[in-house]
């Protein structure tokens, strides 16, 4: 079976009635960047530190048929031990502070952190509330911020692409920047 017939040939699954050219384009670019940065794939652990739950719905959507983000080398994993990156949604509440810190600590290098949604980026509408500490960067070092109330799946994808580009071009130099944190390999 040659490459062409693999692309245009009949699939075992049902046909999808939808395509989203823009999303596909960003997705393919992301796959390329992940290949460049990690060689293989990007594993993400999600932690909700106090969101209104809409960001969770959009993150779940990334795994549904319209988006199917695993095609682009991104998977959501069940444990921080398996994760390259952590997505934080929501302003960090006093009651979630320790859980966020522990999740971050449990992650192996490169320990990337992505803030998803306005509240995770800046603390959002919660301002000076007694119950929150502010955005995710009040608790853990954040590598990329994806604003929105909540950001749509395509926006999250673009944010991941920006993160991968930052890594490839060496723009992430904060202590959290994984690539710099890995022990130097001995020849």
């Amino acid at each position: 079976m040659n490459v062409i017939s693999r692309i245009i040939g009949r699939k075992a699954t049902e046909d999808f009635a939808f395509t989203d050219a823009e999303f596909e384009k960003v997705g393919l670019a992301l796959k390329k960047e992940i290949d460049g940065a990690f060689g293989r794939s990007l594993a993400i652990r999600e932690v909700d530190s106090g969101s209104d739950n809409a960001a969770e719905i959009e993150l779940v959507n990334l795994n549904t048929p319209h988006y199917d983000i695993e095609r682009f080398g991104v998977s959501f994993v069940a444990s921080p031990r398996h994760a390259d990156a952590m997505i934080v949604t929501g302003a960090v509440t006093q009651n979630m502070k320790i859980a966020v810190e522990k999740t971050y600590e449990a992650m192996p290098a490169p320990k990337l952190v992505i803030a998803v949604g306005d509240d995770a980026c800046t603390g959002g509408i919660y301002g000076n509330s007694y119950a929150v500490l502010g955005g995710a960067d009040k608790v853990v070092p954040v590598d990329v911020k994806i604003p929105g109330n909540p950001p749509a799946p395509a926006e999250i994808l673009r944010g991941l692409l920006a993160l991968m580009k930052k890594i490839r071009t060496g723009k992430i130099t904060a202590p959290s920047a994984g690539v710099h944190r890995m022990p130097p390999s001995k020849p």
Binding site: F18, E46, V47, D48, S49, G50, S51, D52, N53, A54, A55, E56, I57, E58, L59, V60, N61, T64, P65, H66, F76, A78, S79, G90, A91, T93, Q94, N95, M96, K97, I98, A99, T103, D119, I125, Y126, G127, N128, S129, Y130, A131, V132, L133, G134, N149, P150, A152
Partner: protein
């Protein structure tokens, strides 16, 4: 007989007519002020005996050391709300033995205001976890809202109920779970694989929403109401605005009522589609869930086209809605619904013909009808367990008064009943939307809401998960106190009962069949 008359009869019929209280009715609220504590306690016993259900309980600070406790009740067959006002100082007697749903409210008041409840069966902290210092009570007016420093836990570790015995072991789960979901803690006590007891601990996402609203204008608080729970943002925005409109004497245009109704039903559709897909995922059948996820995505895109937001945020406003819905958009909704309904029905039929699904759904996670009143369960969870309450029909708002809402109820109370109930409600929502579009009058979509008035008011809506109750108090044009209680706050407590005797692997399925909002509970 109206609620006012019924309560008058109850009071005069109390043992030897000993109960003394002032009663007045205005704006759908029957206000009762018992004279003394004895009168209050007798009134509580009488209300309980006569089938009144506690729908909300909260505290308002009236002066440095004086408080007012407000108890809201409803009774099947009455659209009015009975509101009992009770003066209190640093302590008050608990009503949790009469109304078990009062337990969380009283703990919430203790945390917020430092008020102690005598005779309460549970005095543990609720939304203030160990990290908060002792003596900190954020809802007191003497505390000016600001970021506070919390060091390592100062308070004692949270005491879970002790479950001991031969072969009993414990599984602590959360707050961070394995999937992409909200945080909460579940403490299972298990014998073999069977759940013997389960205790939930919530409020990890406590963001201080009620305090946050204080001092802001009602207009500024709509975004706060929307962020109570992202997937109930329309329901909460509508509830908030309805209360503000009631206070301000604002009558919204008929077209705005219709549009609000359409949005609320679209919210129910996408929310239930997510629940249905989630239940199928949790019986390990992702391919079966795909059609429902596809339909939910279509609904979210329709939301965005209609309002500019996939979750329809920033669209509802005091006086109506911010923007009109064009004829084209309305036609698009109609076309989508027509095509969607057939596809949805056939997908449901296919799922329910699959023995693996049926086997896991049937008889799992039963919520007994007897729990509905004591825990004040509402929404599809209650309607799947013989409950019949539906705010849209019992206390019509928006355009629901002009559209007949079908009475739906099932007896089984298991995961299957909740699945079927949510599926049936999607069909009903589609019908309501079609009726709204069909009879849509021309005209403005926003009434003038400029002349602000002071006052307080309740509002009640039927969110996808059940009854949400909001209470606003406006003083000097700004929020003096805001209390919101979502269906999840009450319904969460049913899961502790639903899981007993089930196996641990069925817990995620039972949880998903209720799909309660953590954000909407923790506030």
């Amino acid at each position: 007989m109206g609620m006012l008359n019924e309560i008058e009869n109850i009071i005069s019929g109390s043992e030897g007519g000993k109960l003394s209280a002032k009663i007045a009715e205005s704006g759908g609220e029957v206000r009762i002020v018992p004279h003394g504590n004895k009168d209050f306690e007798e009134l509580m016993r009488m209300l309980e005996r006569n089938g009144f259900a506690l729908m909300s309980l909260f505290c308002v600070q009236t002066s440095a050391k004086e408080f007012q406790l407000i108890y809201a009740f409803e009774k099947t067959g009455h659209p009015e709300i009975a509101v009992v006002h009770r003066r209190a100082g640093e302590s008050a007697s608990s009503v949790a033995s009469l109304f078990p749903s009062a337990c969380w409210y009283e703990r919430e008041i203790t945390d917020g205001f430092g008020m102690a409840f005598e005779g309460a069966f549970d005095g543990r902290r609720l939304f203030l976890h160990e990290t908060y210092p002792d003596g900190f009570h954020p809802l007191l007016k003497s505390f000016e809202n600001r970021r506070i420093e919390c060091s390592r836990p100062t308070a004692e570790e949270y005491a879970f109920k002790k479950m001991e015995g031969e072969g009993v072991y414990h599984i602590p789960v959360g707050p961070v779970h394995a999937g992409i979901i909200e945080p909460g803690h579940f403490r299972f006590s298990v014998i073999g694989e069977t759940i013997f007891n389960m205790e939930i601990r919530m409020f990890y996402k406590h963001r201080g929403i009620e305090k946050l609203a204080e001092g802001k204008t009602p207009e500024e608080c709509i975004g706060i109401a929307e962020s109570i729970s992202g997937d109930e943002s329309v329901a909460n925005a509508v509830a908030f605005c309805m209360a503000a409109e009631k206070i301000g004497g604002i009558v919204i245009p008929e077209r705005a009522r219709r549009i609000r109704t359409i949005l609320m039903e679209l919210e129910r559709i996408y929310s239930h589609l997510g629940d249905i897909a989630g239940m199928i995922i949790d019986v390990a059948y992702p391919a079966g869930a795909s059609p429902f996820f596809v339909m939910r995505e279509e609904a979210l895109r329709l939301n965005a086209e209609l309002t500019g937001s996939r979750f329809m945020k920033n669209y509802v406003c005091i006086g109506g809605v911010r923007k009109d819905v064009s004829t084209d958009s309305a036609a698009k909704i109609s076309r989508w619904l027509k095509e969607f309904s057939a596809r949805f029905d056939s997908a449901v039929k296919e799922i329910l013909s699959f023995s693996m699904v049926v086997d896991r759904f049937e008889g799992t996670g039963i919520i007994r009808a007897g729990l509905i009143a004591p825990l004040h369960l509402t929404g599809p969870a209650a309607r799947a367990s013989s409950g019949e309450m539906d705010t849209r029909r019992d206390r019509p708002y928006a355009a629901y008064g002009s559209i007949p809402i079908r009475r739906m109820s099932m007896k089984e109370g298991d995961v299957m009943a909740r699945f079927k109930m949510k599926a049936a409600e999607i069909g009903e929502s589609a019908r309501i939307i079609k009726a709204c579009i069909g009879g849509m009058p021309e005209g403005p979509v926003r009434a003038d809401a400029a002349n602000a008035r002071d006052g307080s008011a309740f509002s009640v809506v039927e969110a996808p998960r059940g009854q949400n109750v909001h209470w606003l108090c406006v003083k000097g044009g700004v929020m003096e106190r805001y209390k919101a209680r979502t269906a999840s706050f009450c319904n969460w407590q049913s899961i502790e009962h639903a899981v007993i005797g089930n196996i641990v692997p069925d817990f995620p399925l039972i949880n998903k069949s209720l799909n309660l909002s953590y954000a909407g509970t923790d506030l």
